[in-house]
């Protein structure tokens, strides 16, 4: 176990290393000169040259990389080129915001997706199943700005129940932020719901078709007990993986939703950084997203293993 964890962590380290090289290289190829961008069109040659020197942009690339990587590891993620503020608190704060949104979204779409998936499986190929599949697929297909704007139109503008704009103040805590989280969380959930429901449906159908479920029924156990204890315990295993994989997406990939609602999440920060050629910001933000993806994958595998006695106890 410990050995496995070490191996996996080592592997994650390698992933991050590779990702850092890729991220660093890509940022080098972004068009435009950083110093020029920072100082604007009319800066003097001398000023630009001074800034380049100051930022270490004249050093050989590999040295630049090593400096940056060493800084990243020791927690010095550099200053934003645009705001001249340290990048780290900025990224971490946005990560916190994203985590709040992700948390609310998961609380909505995971239980709902599982419930719908199970209902679809139990009514397989009949009307409820077809309805659930059609609707959830439609939402997976609809772009988030469509669902988002629709929700704003109904609940914010039409009914006036919830704020249309979710640009919360920096440093808001969960309770303060909560009303602003609901609409974006629902928007995200509508997309995520389909995946969870589909995974749960197919997992449940597979399990319903096994000998051990037939055996459990013929043991005369009450139907609810068969479903809750015998079916779901096995059927939800694949869903665990999908949920964990979704975490990476929720934390770094909600650019559209965050933009529609003006929510200050990590995704939007990254886009902002890219627009401004804010290299330290792009690098740090991307690294965090990669790290979140890798760690949630590892978490998924471990949880899967813990839930599955075959793996937990070995042969």
């Amino acid at each position: 176990m410990a050995l496995y964890l070490l191996r996996r962590l080592g592997f994650i380290f390698l992933t991050l290393l590779l990702a850092s090289i890729i991220i660093f290289s890509i940022t080098q190829f972004l068009p435009g000169d950083v110093a020029q961008m920072v100082l604007g069109q009319f800066a003097t040659e001398v000023a630009i040259e001074n800034l380049r020197e100051e930022l270490g942009l004249n050093l050989p690339l590999h040295i630049q990389y090593l400096n940056w990587a060493a800084g990243f590891i020791t927690g010095d993620w550099g200053d934003s080129l645009v705001s001249r503020m340290p990048v780290q608190p900025m990224v971490m704060q946005r990560l916190g915001n994203s985590a709040m949104l992700a948390g609310v979204a998961i609380m909505i779409y995971v239980p709902l997706g599982i419930a719908l998936g199970v209902i679809a499986a139990l009514k397989r190929d009949r009307y409820p199943d077809q309805a659930i599949t059609a609707v959830s697929m439609a939402f997976v297909g609809l772009p988030e700005f469509v669902t988002g704007l629709l929700l704003i139109a109904i609940f914010a503008i039409g009914l006036g129940w919830l704020p249309a704009n979710s640009s919360i103040d920096p440093g808001s805590n969960f309770v303060q932020a909560f009303p602003y989280l609901i609409l974006p969380a629902i928007t995200v959930s509508l997309t995520g719901l389909g995946y969870i429901a589909r995974m749960t449906r197919s997992g449940t159908i597979d399990v319903l078709d096994t000998d051990y479920i037939r055996a459990a029924e013929l043991k005369g156990l009450p139907a609810a007990q068969v479903l809750l204890r015998h079916v779901l315990r096995n059927a939800l295993l694949p869903t665990v993986t999908v949920v964990a994989m979704g975490i990476g997406w929720l934390l770094g990939g909600l650019i559209v939703t965050e933009t529609v609602f003006g929510y200050p999440g990590l995704g939007r920060l990254l886009v902002y950084g890219i627009q401004r050629r804010d290299l330290p910001l792009i690098q740090a933000g991307s690294m965090i997203v990669v790290a979140v993806y890798s760690l949630s994958n590892l978490a998924a595998d471990i949880i899967y293993g813990l839930l599955n006695p075959r793996i937990r106890l070995g042969r």
């Binding site: 496995y4 051990y212 043991k219 156990l221 096995n234 899967y304 070995g314």
Partner: protein, 707 residues
């Protein structure tokens, strides 16, 4: 229709009220082709404490019947019956909710594949306890105690720890005991067992059957035992019903049915199973021609008529009812009286060669000290697992084989016999050892072998689909090796394919059929034709008949024997079915944990002295003859893992004849006994022979009377 139950009661032979009373039960499925009656007009009664054997091949409707009895049919199935009673309860009138109260308490079921029938993520003890809570209304604590008690009852070693384990941590035999414990926990009136031992090794099967016999002396539970294995019926059942294409063909007490066989189908079945107490020199297997008719194309008259040698005009007009032949013995054959006097000719015509001619054939295969060690895989499961060494699947096996002879390889599953064959074929790369074909050493991997050598070794697998492309016509599959290996032109290939189809007794138009249009037996014939297309000198047959019905097995065994006689091919015949191996083999090698323990001619291996492991295998096989008694030698537990092989004699952990610490400390020596007969054991052979007496099989009625 004639009613067996009524008259049985009048006769006074079954005065007890039956536990299960089924009369004129018909099961109908709605399908695309319209409604189909899968089971028709079946009547049967099972008395308290009785084990009723329901025998049939696949497609006979026996499992459907079992499901119908508990009213657990698929959504498109429905049933009608005059009577369907459990004791005094009319099951036909019960609602689904009421049936749930019957399931698991008054009627319990034990399913075919114990590995699949136990929930993988709930500890097995809990799976017994939940039944006790629901049906016996016990508290959680009492239910847990009940589970332990039941595990003890089914002779589970260390119930406490077993109760806490999960399905994957237990062997098939242990799981089947868990299922039996679950089924017995509520002391049911009826237990339905559907092929409960089919997925198990013979040695484990024997232990389970003994257990059932023992349990039945203490419990009054009636058992409906569904199986295709006539040997199992002969060993444990008191009555038997033979099902064919959805109807009962013959029914009666086991001894009467096996002795007088009043239906040609029963005769066919019994004639087609190889017997471990007889070899191909004694009996010629008689296959039943044709196949079970599909339910949508049943013949007008007797449903067995298309395959019946005795069919005559009247048989084709009306379906003969089940009639009383002799007391409680019933048959659905019109001509049963003639059958009473018709003796089957069992003698095999023509000379059969035996192992003793062996010096004559050319040496085809010589495999020396083959080893195959697998490294255990890493992956996610290593997340939680402890250290593990290499899996020694094959650990030093040597075999020599001459042309025209068959060597049978027997052993429990997991003993390494399949891996050994795959190493010879080059499908697995051996770890060490030497494989020589006609004196020429072959590379381990199939990729590095010469075309001309590849052609010489062919393999037939248990599942014919492995060698047939589902998109190709059967003829194309057979032609492929001819084109690849042969350098023949088109018309030569075509005529050779036709010749091969004739050789495996398939009509020529089958050349154009796709695999899914063929039955299992036909597919296996195509696979055999394909193997012979390359004109091999060595055929590796890995369980070639195990997935097929008994009546089809016989024709394939005969086919393989014929082809061998014609082509002088050497066979390595791997099977867990000792009777089939005995039937077809000249030589037999007994394998346990990757190593050979006894080698000899088929005749020598099956009479004392034999290796204690061979002895245990032999005594475990159920012989399809209730009059034959067998010595009861049973193996404890299951085959140890090939990672931690026991020291000394590898068999010592389970050996019933173990003589002391020497078995654990020293590897036993090979001892010679007679004609190339070798046994690897510490017990001196004369002593072994003395212990084993006259062998595993003896006729209980009168010795040698009608064997």
């Amino acid at each position: 229709m004639y009613n067996p139950a009524g008259s049985a009661l009048e006769d006074g032979t079954a005065v007890l009220q039956p536990v299960l009373d089924v009369r004129n039960l018909t099961v109908t499925y709605r399908t695309d082709k319209g409604p189909l009656d899968i089971v028709r007009n079946v009547s049967l009664q099972v008395a308290p404490g009785e084990i009723y054997g329901l025998v049939g091949e696949s497609g006979s409707g026996k499992t459907t019947l079992a499901r119908a009895v508990v009213r657990y049919l698929a959504a498109n199935g429905s049933l009608t019956a005059d009577t369907l009673k459990l004791g005094d309860t009319d099951l036909l009138t019960l609602s689904r909710a009421e049936m749930r109260k019957v399931w698991g308490s008054r009627i319990t079921m034990v399913h075919q594949d114990p590995g699949a029938a136990v929930n993988p993520s709930i500890p097995v003890g809990e799976q017994i306890a939940e039944v006790a809570r629901v049906h016996l209304h016990l508290s959680p604590g009492e239910a847990r105690k009940k589970a332990l008690e039941m595990l003890g009852l089914v002779r589970m070693p260390d119930p406490e720890s077993v109760a806490r384990r999960y399905a994957h941590q237990l062997s098939g035999g242990m799981l089947q005991r868990v299922l039996i414990a679950t089924a017995m926990a509520t002391n049911p009136e009826l237990m339905i067992m559907d092929e409960p031992t089919t997925a198990l090794d013979v040695t484990t099967e024997a232990v389970i059957l003994d257990l059932l016999n023992e349990l039945m002396t203490d419990y009054n539970t009636a058992i409906l035992y569904i199986t295709h294995n006539l040997g199992v019926v002969a060993r444990i059942c008191s009555r038997i019903g033979v099902m064919y294409a959805g109807e009962i063909m013959e029914e009666g007490p086991v001894k009467k049915v096996f002795r007088s066989r009043l239906h040609p189908y029963t005769r066919g079945l019994l004639g087609s199973v190889p017997r471990v107490d007889a070899s191909k020199k004694d009996v010629h297997l008689k296959a039943i021609t044709g196949q079970i008719p599909r339910p949508e194309e049943l013949p007008e008259g007797c449903i067995f008529s298309p395959r019946c040698e005795l069919a005559e005009g009247d048989c084709l007009i009306a379906r003969p009812p089940l009639v009383q032949a002799d007391g409680d013995h019933y048959t659905a054959c019109r001509r049963w009286q003639e059958l009473l006097h018709l003796k089957e000719k069992e003698q095999h015509e023509g000379p059969v060669r035996g192992a003793y001619d062996s010096a004559k054939g050319p040496l085809v295969l010589e495999a020396r000290e083959i080893k195959k060690h697998f490294r255990s895989s890493g992956g996610l499961s290593s997340l939680f697992s402890r250290e593990s060494g290499p899996i020694k699947a094959v650990d030093d096996m040597s075999v020599r084989l001459r042309g025209g002879f068959t060597m049978g390889i027997v052993g429990e599953s997991g003993c390494g016999k399949t891996t050994f064959a795959r190493c010879l074929a080059g499908l697995e790369e051996a770890t060490s050892g030497e494989i020589a074909l006609e004196g020429v050493t072959l590379p381990y991997s199939v990729n590095r072998r010469k075309q001309s050598d590849l052609k010489k070794i062919q393999m037939v697998f248990q599942n014919p689909d492995a060698s047939l492309n589902p998109q190709h016509q059967a003829g194309v599959s057979v032609a492929r090796p001819l084109i690849l290996l042969g350098g023949m032109n088109r018309s030569e290939v075509r005529s050779r394919v036709r010749e091969l189809f004739r050789a495996v007794n398939l009509p020529e138009d089958y050349i154009y059929r796709l695999p899914h249009e063929l039955s299992g037996g036909e597919k296996q014939r195509v696979a055999i034709a394909r193997a012979f297309a390359a004109d091999p000198i060595l055929m590796l047959c890995d369980e070639p008949i195990s997935a097929l019905d008994v009546s089809v097995q016989a024709s394939l065994i005969n086919l393989l024997a014929e082809l061998q006689e014609k082509n002088e091919t050497a066979y390595l015949f791997i099977s867990h079915d000792l009777a089939a191996v005995r039937h077809i083999s000249d030589w037999i090698a007994v394998v346990y944990l990757g190593r050979l323990w006894e080698v000899g001619s088929a005749d020598d291996v099956f009479v004392p002295p034999y290796h204690p492991y061979t002895e245990a295998l032999l005594s475990a096989i159920p012989v399809p003859d209730p009059e034959v008694s067998q010595e009861q030698i049973r193996l404890r537990g299951s085959v140890p893992s090939a990672v931690n092989i026991p020291s000394g004699c590898r068999f010592h952990t389970r050996c019933p004849r173990k003589i002391g610490p020497i078995c654990e400390e020293k590897e036993p020596p090979w001892q010679e006994s007679g004609f190339h007969h070798k046994i690897c054991c510490h017990i001196p052979l004369p002593r072994l022979k003395e212990m084993q007496g006259k062998g595993c099989f003896f006729n209980s009625s009168a010795e040698g009377e009608e064997c």
